[in-house]
């Protein structure tokens, strides 16, 4: 049963940050798709809820060829999925969103809320990190921008300081000859991933790997980059054995834990398979 709480409803960002600074034991709510679950299970029972749904300043998607993509924190998954510019320039974001829970959840859930919740099984983080995204956070004292991969600290823990909100996700402009792919492994369509892998590959003029990113989901406490495998790829040409080798490294370097849905061994195996497949897919997209 959800506890009784005091409801705070700011209309502007300034108001929101002031209220957030003022109240202890306060949780931020927007779509509520992550927060309400843990509240209903009695895992947390905050005294205050700060509802930023009406802070329209944070609800935007902007794209500029030089600056890239900027998504306000209260933008819903559904808005991202339906936005044509994203479909054209960052198709991997759309395919990821398509499989994130259900349409009902995507209509409510927001990108800022998803990232701030910091569930290692969350879908957007591995993809955004593979796309080298930054995150802008801010409090009453001002704002700062950090790499998204540095944002995640532990299970359900982020680099947000007290009084800070997620304000914006920034994705750099798409590079030429870059491809990205994401897949989660689950038993049911659109379920939480047992594990997931995102990969991005950028090719040079000779068709060799200039840059690569491998980011695993639910493979540890935070989204996990497999840098040893990324480095292996640099300068190499398309080679299925190479992808298999990278997959092997991924299954070694990941840090998944067993739970009721899968053993650690099975997760490591799957992460290796997904890494191999996503690298191949990303590479092929980069070539086309």
């Amino acid at each position: 049963m959800i506890n009784d709480f005091n409801y705070l409803k700011p209309d502007t960002l300034k108001e929101a940050l002031a209220m957030y600074a003022e109240h202890d034991d306060c949780k931020v709510i927007c779509g509520g798709q992550s927060l309400l679950i843990v509240m209903r299970q009695g895992m947390i029972s905050p005294e205050y809820l700060l509802d930023i749904k009406h802070v329209t300043e944070l609800d935007y998607i902007k794209f500029d060829k030089k600056d890239g993509l900027r998504i306000g924190a209260t933008t819903t998954h559904r808005e991202i999925e339906k936005f044509n510019v994203i479909k054209k320039n960052y198709p991997v974001l759309v395919s990821m969103e398509n499989k994130l829970a259900s349409i009902q959840v995507r209509n409510w859930g927001t990108i800022g809320g998803n990232l701030a919740h910091a569930d290692p099984a969350g879908d957007p983080a591995p993809v955004l990190i593979a796309l080298k995204a930054n995150i802008r956070v801010g409090g009453a004292e001002g704002d700062r921008t950090i790499l998204l991969e540095d944002f995640f600290v532990n299970y359900f823990e982020t680099a947000l300081n007290k009084g800070e909100l997620v304000l914006e996700v920034h994705v750099p402009p798409p590079e030429p000859k870059m491809g990205a792919a994401y897949q989660k492994f689950n038993l049911l369509e659109s379920d939480m991933g047992i594990v997931a892998a995102a990969a991005s590959v950028t090719l040079n003029d000779k068709g060799k790997c200039k840059d690569a990113r491998i980011v695993l989901g639910n493979a540890g406490a935070t989204p996990k980059r497999i840098k040893r495998a990324e480095e292996l790829l640099i300068g190499k040409a398309y080679d299925e054995n190479l992808f298999a080798e990278a997959g092997k490294i991924a299954s070694e370097d990941c840090e998944p834990v067993a739970d009721i849905h899968a053993s650690e061994e099975h997760r490591r195996h799957l992460l290796g398979v997904l890494t191999k497949r996503m690298l191949k897919k990303a590479w092929e997209k980069a070539r086309s």
Binding site: M1, D4, I37, S102, F185, L187, L188, E189, S190, D191, M192, I260, H261, A262, S263, H266, H269, L270, V273
Partner: protein, 761 residues
């Protein structure tokens, strides 16, 4: 069957608009003035002695109106099939769903808070969670007074001579199969409101699927509580799914009665989703040792099964599912020699109940998987083996079932044709096909002394009809089916038929929505009542039209002479005439239908149902050998239903059943660790959703059952019976590994593939 106006038509469910718009009143929505909210404190441990119980702090909380414990009930009062379950426990708790204290308060929040103020001191006892462990000599006894953990329900069926048949068999296979706990996942959770009037008569608002039997249970309980000879009325709200879960009465219902009696106020208890997972009774897990034999030509010679069922801590109808398992074991295909022994074993797990199929899915998983093994050993295509041994009309099975209509061969043929079986079987490429058949009761099932259902029909002044039926609509659409049957017989529009099916004060008796019996039994009952009232109408109209009743008929609400169409009268006019004439009368008819089926004799033989439903499912899968993931590419579900009264609803039953079966095959499992449910929520319990529906073709075979209403047989349960073995067989065809333990998860497939690789290297 020619000239049918309403039977056989795709008529949408009558209650669909209410459900879609949210105006349907479920038990969750119902409020009664002055109503209190009840909440239950469950045991913290699966097996423990209660050393101390202190409710004083909870009692003092403002808003708390009553606290009940075991001391509020006579010490000898027990519920359940074996009367082994006190609604509130004292002394020893046997599972984590054991009810210890209940609170009634003015709000659910206060009741919840009061629960947290109850102080219970336990001495934890070692638990037994594995039926095999529980059967070992010297194992701690769950119910000490029973002297054994094995239930005194000796299930044993012997037909012919299995040992002799083994000697004569050319091929024999033997293996062990197991199935997990799975739960119904009703979207409408369990709940009730108990209310006493000033004379201590009880009204129970409930979503039960057995109103008449529940009424009986409550009357017994009231007598035990010192309220002898009281009336009990059951009013059913709209029911958000049953699937067998609401086929018994449970502790929470008796607790609501106790709280209502103590407070003199209506008390509502509604299960939260978590309670619905851990505190309702699921389908039990089974361990099945099976052996099958055939001769050189592939004719089946014997089937032998030894089964252990985890009964859990108490006994509900789950313990009687072996009686229904006997049906596929003895009568799925022609098998002359049968031996079946089953033991239900107490453990400190949750306790089991009926769930769609009533044991048939567990038994059919073992039988149909084993049959494929036998086919392989005998070198016969599994499809041919099935066809060769298929049941036929006119057959009397070893368990003494009299097979009337039987479309099993047609179902098998449809599967083979639509799957393109001969092209696809054994072709490799990680793709494979598999099939499995089913038998189920299709003409009621005499599990009680009666299998009856009553119907009352009354005509109003305008030619419209009120039908009072004993049957319960749990979402399967019986209200629509009954309206169709009555409208067809009376020659009126279905919109002119009002079905009342939710109040024991006005509805006739019925044994409940179970055993796929409602269309057949309640349908025949409605048919009988409709025919009776039609005869009365024609007699009245005959006088009015000065015609012989035999030459009259009704169409579109008009009574007319079949000899001379000009002679006619609107139905309403004839009825008004009857009401407005001195010495007039009203038209009403009742009919009680109890099918001519038989209770089993002492050897568990007898014609359980007057007709049997058949079907065959076929599936094509693709298996990802690297991840173990199974994808269903094509699914054919062919069912012999006698006659489709409403193909739209019937297909719904097949799709729904099929998907429930796919969940059972590939993902669903209640994960218990030492008696504690680890995945009691929809995030962790992997029930398929609308997005997981594969391409399914529902194929309807009409075999025209002689005893069915318009030729129909039951279809409530069959849709999920052969799903799991069909999928298991297809996976074997695709990648050569047989998973014998449901659900077939990717991890199990990978492990089996690894083992297979290891053994061939």
């Amino acid at each position: 069957m020619d000239g049918l106006q309403i039977i056989g038509k795709r008529i949408p469910k009558r209650d669909a608009p209410q459900k879609v718009t949210g105006s349907a009143v479920y038990i969750q929505d119902l409020k009664i003035p002055g109503m209190l909210y009840g909440k239950i404190l469950y045991s913290k441990y699966p097996h423990a002695r209660i050393l101390k119980l202190d409710t004083s702090k909870a009692e003092k909380l403002p808003g708390v109106r009553a606290v009940v414990t075991a001391t509020d009930i006579p010490a000898t009062f027990r519920i359940g099939v074996m009367k082994d379950n006190p609604p509130l426990k004292t002394g020893k708790v046997l599972s984590t769903r054991d009810e210890i204290v209940a609170i009634a308060a003015t709000t659910p929040e206060i009741a919840e808070e009061a629960l947290s103020l109850i102080d219970v001191e336990y001495e934890e006892l070692p638990g037994i969670f594995d039926p095999l462990e529980a059967m070992k000599e010297g194992a701690p006894l769950i119910h000490e007074e029973m002297k054994s953990n094995v239930l005194k329900m000796p299930w044993k069926l012997v037909c012919g001579d299995v040992e002799a048949a083994k000697k004569e068999s050319a091929f024999i296979v033997e293996d062990t199969f197991s199935t997990p706990w799975v739960t119904h996942c009703c979207l409408g959770t369990s709940g009730c409101i108990a209310q006493f009037d000033t004379n201590n008569n009880l009204t129970m608002y409930s979503n039960t699927q057995i109103p008449s039997l529940a009424q009986n249970d409550y009357i017994d309980a009231l007598a035990a509580f010192g309220l002898k000879n009281k009336r009990v009325r059951i009013v059913q709200s709209v029911i958000g799914g049953g699937f067998g879960s609401k086929l018994d009465t449970y502790a929470y219902e008796y607790i609501a009665i106790l709280l209502a009696r103590k407070t003199r106020k209506p008390v509502k208890i509604i299960f939260s989703r978590e309670e619905e997972f851990f505190a309702t009774s699921p389908r039990q897990c089974t361990i099945t040792k099976i052996s099958h034999g055939c001769d050189k030509e592939g004719k089946l010679t014997f089937r032998e099964i030894d089964m252990i069922l985890d009964n859990g801590a108490y006994t509900s109808w789950g313990a009687t599912t072996p009686s229904v398992m006997m049906m596929p074991i003895s009568s799925l295909y022609k098998v002359p020699n049968i031996k079946y022994v089953a033991k239900c074993v107490y453990t400190n797990n949750t306790y089991s109940q009926a769930m769609r199929g009533y044991g048939n899915p567990q038994a059919t998983f073992a039988i149909e998987s084993s049959l494929d093994q036998l086919a392989e050993k005998a070198g016969i295509d599994p499809y041919e083996l099935r066809l060769k041994n298929a049941n036929e009309p006119g057959e009397i099975t070893p368990q003494h079932f009299k097979i009337t209509s039987c479309g099993m061969k047609e179902c098998i043929d449809e599967v083979v044709k639509r799957l393109n079986w001969k092209e696809k079987k054994g072709k490799g490429g990680n793709r494979g096909v598999g099939m499995a058949s089913l038998i189920h009761v299709g003409g009621g099932a005499r599990v009680y002394k009666s299998d009856g259902c009553g119907t009352i029909i009354k005509m109003d002044d305008f030619g419209k009809v009120d039908v009072f039926t004993g049957s319960t609509d749990i979402g399967q659409g019986s209200e629509t089916i009954i309206a169709q049957i009555v409208a067809e017989v009376l020659g009126i529009s279905i919109d002119d038929v009002n079905v009342v099916n939710n109040d024991t004060d006005v509805c006739p008796w019925d044994v409940g929505a179970h055993a796929s019996r409602t269309t057949f039994v309640a349908g025949n009952s409605a048919l009988g009542a409709a025919k009776k009232i039609k005869a009365q109408i024609l007699e009245v109209a005959a006088k009015l039209l000065e015609e012989d009743p035999a030459s009259l008929d009704i169409k579109n609400g008009v009574v007319f002479s079949t000899k001379n169409n000009e002679k006619n009268t609107p139905l309403g006019k004839a009825l008004r005439k009857l009401h407005y004439t001195a010495g007039g009368k009203m038209l009403m008819a009742e009919y009680f239908y109890d099918p001519a089926n038989e209770n089993f004799d002492k050897e568990f033989k007898g014609n359980l149902s007057v007709s049997y439903a058949y079907g065959a499912h076929g599936v094509e899968v693709e298996v990802d050998k690297e991840t173990g993931q199974v994808k269903i590419l094509n699914y054919i579900a062919a069912h012999d239903v006698g006659k489709a009264i409403n193909p739209l609803l019937l297909e719904g039953q097949i799709y729904g059943g099929g998907l429930q079966g796919i969940g059972y095959a590939l993902g669903e499992k209640m994960i218990y660790e030492k008696g504690r449910l680890m995945n009691g929520n929809f995030l962790d319990y992997k029930m398929p959703t609308a997005k997981d529906v594969p391409p399914v073709q529902a194929v309807i075979i009409e075999s025209d059952e002689q005893d069915g209403p318009f030729g129909a047989k039951g279809i409530g349960e069959p849709g999920l019976v052969p799903t799991a073995p069909a999928i298991a067989n297809a996976i074997y065809d695709a990648v050569g590994v047989r998973i014998k333990d449901l659900p077939i998860t990717p991890e199990k497939i990978l492990k089996a593939l690894k083992e297979k690789e290891g053994s061939t290297k």
